[in-house]
Structure formats: C-alpha cells, structure tokens
Symmetry: C2
Subunit: 163 residues, 2 copies
C-alpha cells in the first residue's frame, strides 16, 4: 500500500503483507521464500528504534526455532536494504545494524565516537531535504540518514586515555 504525505512524497506504509512483499519481489523476477517472510516479520515486530546486527538476527531466529543460515541472513538484509525495506545503519565500529524503514517513524542517530552510546532523534526537515535532493537528481529515494558524530558528556569529563 502506498500513501502520499502532505509533501507529495510517495512512501510505503510500514507494514508489508506477505502479498505485497511477494509482488515487489516478483516485479524483479525474484521469489518469496519462507526465510524472507520470517526475517521481514522479525523486523516488523521489533520495538520502534530497535535495530539488529546480522548476528543478533541469527540468535533471535534461533531462539524462536527458525533455522536460517547466516549466509541467508546476510543476503536477505542486504537485499531488503537495497529494496528500501530495511535501513542499513553504521552505529558501532565494526559491523552493520538493520532496522525497518518506516517514514512515519523516521529518525536519526547521534553517536559518541568514544563509547558508541547512541541517541535517537527525530527531525522533520531531514526527510524533506532527502526527498528534494534525490528528486532533483532524478534518483529514486530509498532512505536518508543524518548521522552525528560527537563526544558525549560523560566521555568529555573522562580523563582516561581517549584513543
């Protein structure tokens, strides 16, 4: 299901049904598999703002009794990020995190470069800038993220060696 917001920005609603996911995959000659359905389901039922690494997702699936291989997980999250279904986040230093891409809960990240503590924040203008910029260049927008790198108050006070 597609909706048009007050800004004329065409965006997808947050919830894919099995059918809508299937349709989008088929458009590209791809298939809907149980694995893809289960993984999408996990992300859709995650609390707002929660994100998972590939390893996190693997563990979570295991505890729920779903035996999906790491290969498939890596392949699927990358596929869904490239389709615009998931957002690929660079929060910590050495691995990626993924979360559902929901325009209505669109948010950004303020990250401490020392302790990696992350604060989520919202800003209405950012999406508008992303929309305007991609339109102007003829790009099809998938996601836009404002990432702020900074030093948190606690790390500013710390006298320990920094790096």
């Amino acid at each position: 299901m597609m909706v048009i917001n007050h800004n004329n920005w065409v965006m997808r609603m947050s919830f894919y049904t099995a059918d809508s996911l299937k349709a989008e995959l088929h458009e590209r000659g791809w298939r809907l598999t149980p694995q893809r359905q289960i993984i999408l389901d996990i992300f859709q039922n995650l609390d707002a703002g929660k994100h998972l690494s590939a390893e996190d997702l693997y563990d979570l699936l295991q505890t729920e009794g779903h035996d999906i291989s790491l290969s498939t997980i890596y392949r699927t999250v990358k596929l869904m990020a490239r389709m615009g279904i998931l957002r690929e986040l660079e929060l910590a230093e050495d691995h990626k995190h993924y979360e559902i891409n929901q325009p209505y809960h669109h948010h950004h990240h303020l990250i401490c470069v020392r302790c990696n503590q992350t604060i989520e924040f919202k800003n209405e203008s950012v999406l508008k800038i992303g929309d305007k910029t991609s339109k102007k260049e003829g790009y099809h927008l998938l996601d836009c993220q404002l990432t702020i790198h900074a030093v948190c108050p606690s790390c500013q006070r710390s006298i320990l060696p920094v790096y």
Copy 2:
C-alpha cells in the same frame, strides 16, 4: 584558529598548521610525528570533495616517496576522525573513506545503492540541525553527515539483474 559563525557555532578553520595540530595533540598527551603531519597535509591539499580510503592513501604516499606503513595509516585516520579533523565516510560497501572536515565546505552524499555512483550536495540546514541536536544533549559535535541511499536514473532504466 577558531571562528564563530553567524549561528554561534564554534568551528575550526580548515587549515591546521603544524603548530595548531601539535597543540591539539599535546593537549591530550600525544605527539606530533612526521607521519601525522604528512598525512594531514595530503588531506588538506586534496581537491574539494575528494576522499581517500586507507589503501588509496597508502598508494598516494608511496608515489610521493613517503614510506608510511599501513598500520600507521589506519591508526592515524581513525585518530584524526575521532578528533574531528577528518570525516569518516561510508560510501562504498566494504571500506571507509576519509576526507578533511571543513565546515565551510560542508557537504553530504547521495549514493546509488546499485552502482555506488555518488553525488555530493550542500545544504545549510543540516549543519544547524546537527549543532542544535548535539548541543541539546550536551555532546561535543565533531561531524554530521546526511547520507541518502537511492537508485540513480541509469540504474532505474537498467533491466539487468539488480542484486
């Protein structure tokens, strides 16, 4: 040298002298080495908007006759990113890029998720949002980047397998 812009945002001028770099390092009990000076110099003399991977930087230094080890390069760019001297960019899929962090030439990136073609764009509001947000949370701002993931016109037209 520090300047204060119309927004009361305290920012560093783009060019460090050997002395100002030295002073900032000494503040933290660190040292100015020829390697650090040379690496900073490379970034300062790069054309606006150009960015380098660690490997790029290594090759460039080699061609200029500077024998700086890869270890040192990785250590130095990370150090300078954490000091706010360099920006750490996530442009391609599997490695980071670095560029000088210049408030007066502050820009952002629109990236095609299929072919990785990247367009640089400016937007005055982004820096203000980053400044306001980090101030509000008591963070010390180092860098803020708006990254737009999208599909470029040429890849939209392409009928080749996508992923």
